[in-house]
Amino acid sequence: MSAKTADKIATAVIITLAGFIVLVMLGLLGFILVRGLGHISWDFLTSAPETIKEGGGIGPQLFNSLFLLVLTLIITVPLGLGAGIYMSEYAKPGKVTDFIRLIVEVLSSFPSIVVGLFGLLVFVNVFGFGFSLFSGALALTVFNLPLMVRITEQGLASVPQAQKEASLALGLSKWKTIKSIMLPIATPIILTGTILAAGRVFGEAAALLFTAGMSSPRLDFSDWNPLSPMSPLNPFRPAETLAVHIWKINSEGLAPDAPEIAAGASAVLILMVLVFNLLARFIGRLIHKKFTATK
């Protein structure tokens, strides 16, 4: 076989395999969307689920997923930024820094079920937060923190050395340099990364089964006082997210239209992830453009 034929065959194989991926992915998306889209309506997105009757919706679950995401980000973003800044700017190369880097790596690859069990043991039982949004947010923080640290580090590393040095040479303190010069430049990367990481929070179920719980108490959407137990904003109420809800109705659903609800909810989840991805791209591009245009 001549080298040319081998080259052609190899190219064909590579293209076929890549095409296979696209097919699988289209099939997957098509399967979920075709089965689910027909079931999505305004009513489905806003009404509460039914136990045994038909026509239940996913309103509270959708809200819970979004609210849990916000809670998680409130905890993760400052911590992750802080830790990332430390790692990239203050940490001196050495054994300790290497060790911390190792820890971040280990933390990011822990199986979600182990994190969930840890949450059940510590946040739910030892700290006594119970099955609650707060416990869930803490468990998700464990996943998201290492991602956030890495994203921040990447963002800061992308800042041109000259800009950093110029600022330091002007006599600004290191902290001021980081805060006022480096972080703004790193923002597009950090923001894009955060949004992509948020998508993972949205789909997580294994860890939340054990921490945020599987029930959705009745919510009173006119009560925005975070202290009242029926308020949607109370972080100490149990909350079933969309992903957990899919798991639950798949396994124990009594409603006659449970399969349709599961399909509809799956489609909603996929669409949300899609929106997150597009948003991340869009915002990243927007900010990038702004920068390059003014520079």
Binding site: M214, P217, P226, F236, R237, E252, L254
Partner: protein, 309 residues
Amino acid sequence: MKKSLMLVLTLILTFTLAACGQSNTSSNKSNEGSQEGTNGGNAAASELSGSILAVGSSALQPLVDQASKKFMDLNPKVSIQVQGGGSGTGLTQVSGGQADIGNSDVFAEEKLDAGPAAELVDHQVAVVAMAAVINPDVNVDNLTKDQLVKIFTGEVKNWSEVGGPDQAIQIVNRPASSGTRATFEKYALGTKTDDLEGSIQEDSSGTVKKLVGETPGAIGYLALSYLDDSVKVVKYDGVEATEENVANGTYPVWAYEHMYTKGEPNDVVKAFLEFMASDEVQNKDVVELGYIPVSKMEVTRDLDGNITK
């Protein structure tokens, strides 16, 4: 340009910081708030207020959930949270004091050590009956206890040996820790069985139903509330799994659904448990969700399985 960016960034920073601070304070406050609520519930007897946390059996969860909504309508100041997580979780949490009520498919004595189990007070709220189900393509209508035992112990591997077509039997079982399996083994088989090679194990009724309905030659068991046309129900020793037969004691495969409290319940929990036992719930929600009301039972059964009329 840089200035505006700085502004944006400071805004983001202040926002996150503020949000951080706010979420801290609000969480503290809400903690206090809920504590006050519980204390208030203990003190005031005239109008019920307080919060209840019921955790446990996912099989019982829909019933408690539905009843709790009604109860909250009647007592607007009471908030009840119902959690799944499994009987084991429910018993752990009620025994450890994290939950007010522990929902369980089995007697606490079967899961907990004698010490902690003795502290728990049993409230039986419903009866759940189970039936063996098979793939609709298998033309078998009745299985005797002996045949079932042989199937689930692997002695009989083909449907032709129990009067069906020449087709391999596929067992869809529950995990060894499952309460449903414990009930089925205790009252339908009368013996514990090993997990056979190649058997499928699913904990959730929905998945069991799906797999039995789709897999050729499959057999499994489901609570009556999950039965529908996708699977075929077989008679047990010639007795049909109906509410009537369970109530008069001719159909033996059933178990109580328990709601455990640690010691005697406080006023709010007590009122809720009384509500669970009232006709309003027993004759409506219990029946609607496919359970059998405790009040209808003509026989009772104790922990060891002794039946009294």
